[in-house]
């Protein structure tokens, strides 16, 4: 009855159960944190704005992004993935989300940042609708936990507009 195998089995079961419980508690404790992040983005320059050979409008921007996301870090946070997307409507598409810049924040010390960047990914439309287009810039973040549930949220910044003419 109380052979070595049984004892090993019982020990393993207990160990796994305790680990699973601790993981669940760590993940649940994330719910207690109420983050209050802030972000500001300025479009400093339109570097160029053209209609490409495939008929799609494409634009290159220089952006200034400043954000303070320190409050979203908890002891169960492995990293936060932050990205800035341009979001707009066109007659054909009810929603267009184009990621312009992204970054990985490895720790709380790096969560207050200020950068100056041109768009990392192509800001291209499906079609030719970008002239004079109003768009939102949205800073999204996805918090990756050490274990458990992943969180995501965003700050929407409105009132940006592209020029009426290609340049």
């Amino acid at each position: 009855m109380h052979s070595f195998v049984y004892r090993a089995n019982a020990l393993l079961t207990l160990g796994v159960t305790v680990l699973a419980l601790m993981c669940a508690m760590a993940s649940l404790s994330d719910n207690l944190n109420v983050p209050s992040p802030s972000a500001h983005v300025h479009v400093l320059n339109i570097n160029w704005f053209q209609r490409q050979r495939d008929g799609n409008d494409e634009v290159s921007l220089t952006l200034n992004i400043s954000a303070n996301l320190q409050s979203m870090f908890t002891w169960n946070t492995k990293q936060a993935f932050v990205f800035l997307s341009a979001e707009y409507e066109t007659p054909k598409n009810s929603l267009n989300q184009v990621s312009l810049w992204d970054g990985i924040i490895p720790s709380q010390e790096h969560a207050k940042f200020w950068i100056h960047a041109t768009n990392k990914y192509r800001f291209a439309d499906q079609g030719s609708n970008l002239r004079g287009k109003e768009f939102n810039l949205t800073l999204h973040w996805h918090v990756m936990p050490k274990t458990g549930r992943m969180f995501a949220d965003k700050i929407v910044m409105t009132g940006y507009r592209l020029p009426e003419e290609y340049r």
Partner: protein, 180 residues
Amino acid sequence: MGWVAEQMDSIKSLQIRQVLTQGVSLGMIVTSALIIWKALMCITGSESPVVVVLSGSMEPGFKRGDILFLHMSNDPIRAGEIVVFNVDGREIPIVHRVIKVHEREDTGEVDVLTKGDNNYGDDRLLYAHGQLWLQRHHIMGRAVGFLPYVGWVTIIMTEKPIIKYILIGALGLLVITSKD
């Protein structure tokens, strides 16, 4: 050696009734595992509710051997979500992040572009030849939860099948020889 001899004795001393009981209990274990898997499929709406990360393309977020829990609801797909998708002509599903979304006004269909956090460029090179966008039907689910390291068990077992057979054999022997 005493342990082995003891086990051999217990196998020899098996009665028909006992063999049947052991068979039934083995069946119970297998079917309950199946029930849990199928129930998870129903709850999450994804055909594979749990996936193991096989490549380092999402490091440092997800490393090889981590487990992801998937969920597939009717909610629209949005930029930033981590999705698991199948590309035509590729057997192994890929776990990457959505970076661009274009959603149609009339039909609600989506065009999606993905990228691995640790990759330099987007995934158009991974898609089928000439494919520019992923559609809804390529996507198997989105990742909602994360558990580190546990997936190593399956990685080791698929890469070193001998360990799998030893483990299954040992567990089978344990079930057959147990006297409860």
